[in-house]
Amino acid sequence: MGYPHPPHPKETVVLSKHFGDAEARTFEGWVTRGGYEGLKKALGMTPEQIIEEVKASGLRGRGGAGFPTGLKWSFVPKNDGKPHYLVCNADESEPGTFKDREIMRWTPHGLIEGVAIAAYAIGSERAYIYIRGEFTEPWRIMSAAVEEAYRHGALGGNVFGTGKRIDITLHRGAGAYICGEETALLNSIEGKRGNPRIKPPFPAIAGLFGMPTAVNNVETLAAVPHIILRGAAWYTGLCLGNPKSTGTKLVSICGHVQRPGNYEVTLGTPLKEILYDMAGGPRPGRRIKAVIPGGSSVPILTAEEADATIFDYEGVVAAGSMLGSAGMIVMDDTTDMVYQIMRLARFYAHESCAQCTQCREGTAWSTRILERILAGNGKPEDLELLLDLADNMTGKTICVLSDSCAAPIVSGIKKFRGEFEAYLKKLRQPALVAV
């Protein structure tokens, strides 16, 4: 539901049903609400059956890339005699995104169930949940829930008396956006600097500690017990016309709207309904200027483009952006687009792991150029220079952090060029003091 707001009639409440309900956090409370039935059912299936069911559901990764989950699991080799690992990505650091936090805060046992099912499906006896260091409250709640799950036999060497072993270890991050990138995350668990790895090999073949591994987002895994319990057909039925985008998606909406929060919608819902009906639209007397629909790493949409967008994987691409993590950042007519694009560039410069030249230099240099434009010292050729830099930062690096920095810059210059030119032509007071 639209936590922290009451559920909106246009929402489809599955994952967020118990947000705000503190009793659902306990093992007993979860069981009373039908919890752990999904895991019990899964343990009676074969791993292949689980993978087939998840494949048939059409579930796609909710962490940003939208890769089909069942397919990802099917790449993990079978009976190869090696240890396998399931890793849950709870690093949630993409600006605009705050959904995994609520899943962990309110339905920790739902996540544990999803992790356990996925672990069993890929033949992993030990799973790790990597939680960003700043998530102190989710950490406490997840720790308590894991402990409880062990006490009740939902984890350990004999899960619900089936003789199967599933262990879960929580691993705390320590402040690094890049550790959300799956291979950086694996390095981080291994006790290394969080540098992304060159792919291939993909984690399914050589992941954590060099072993076959599947990395999945919190929201992806939280959906799994529902799919197992209610069946793939139920999930594919949650669809508004596009069979490639099934199920529900938590949309984190923030910035200049009346009711920021998490709204759970069936994929295919018009973006306009999320923005205006659920989140209440702009503040009184204001007009929406721009929407970043999928976390800060995707191209910016104008208000007009956003209004015409169908909110599913393909729909947002057709509108010229990406669904990403579905962290929707809304900016109204009070926003200085140049300043906020600079602020995003600064974010990527700060978070670059610095192993690729294009990224290390490109993010820092782009930030400096944007700062100088804002200080009133921009040069006429600066916009072309920024675009040229962005071109060099796209598709040329080990991971896509570099591309992510370029996305708001390129779309921003294209769609809000007038605001950049106002600084360049000194029609606007400098927003930054020259350094």
Partner: protein, 186 residues
Amino acid sequence: MSDTVGAPRGPQRGASAHGGHGTEADAAYQPVFVGETRAKLEKLFEQYPTKQACLLPALWMVQEQRGWISERAIGEVAEVLGLTPAYVKGVVTFYTMYHTHPVGRHFIQVCTTSPCNICGAEDVVKAFLQHTGCGELGATSADGRFTVIEVECLGACGFATPVLIDDDFHESVTPEGVPALLQRYK
């Protein structure tokens, strides 16, 4: 992290911060990994196939006990995990949440990334700097009570402005709310 902006190391401040050892070299170093802490770490070893994987957890244990991670502590962690101090240092400096210098008794992290920025996060930072007496980012107040830094997205953008004070996560902090909030941290 590349060594650019905003990382919570900042210039060295506080009585014992001279290149990280200073006074510490004079006093006898009290090891962290003894007794209960040692037992906690040993228990963690069982959950990973390598000792090295316990590096981040071990560093957290140091910081929880000592407030920051000194050169001597880096040496101890290296020894306990069978790594070299240089390697451990390389990892410590990658992650922004580890302090390689002493910080105030209460460490305040304010998000100023775009989603919070457009909702007034920079004014919240100003209020913290003013009411803590820190004056500037990364500096510790004269009474040693506070250090304030700006951080990137805290993953709570719908609750602008989120602020992390020590291990307490505060949502929807406004400049007006800062003085009352600070009262809770002595």
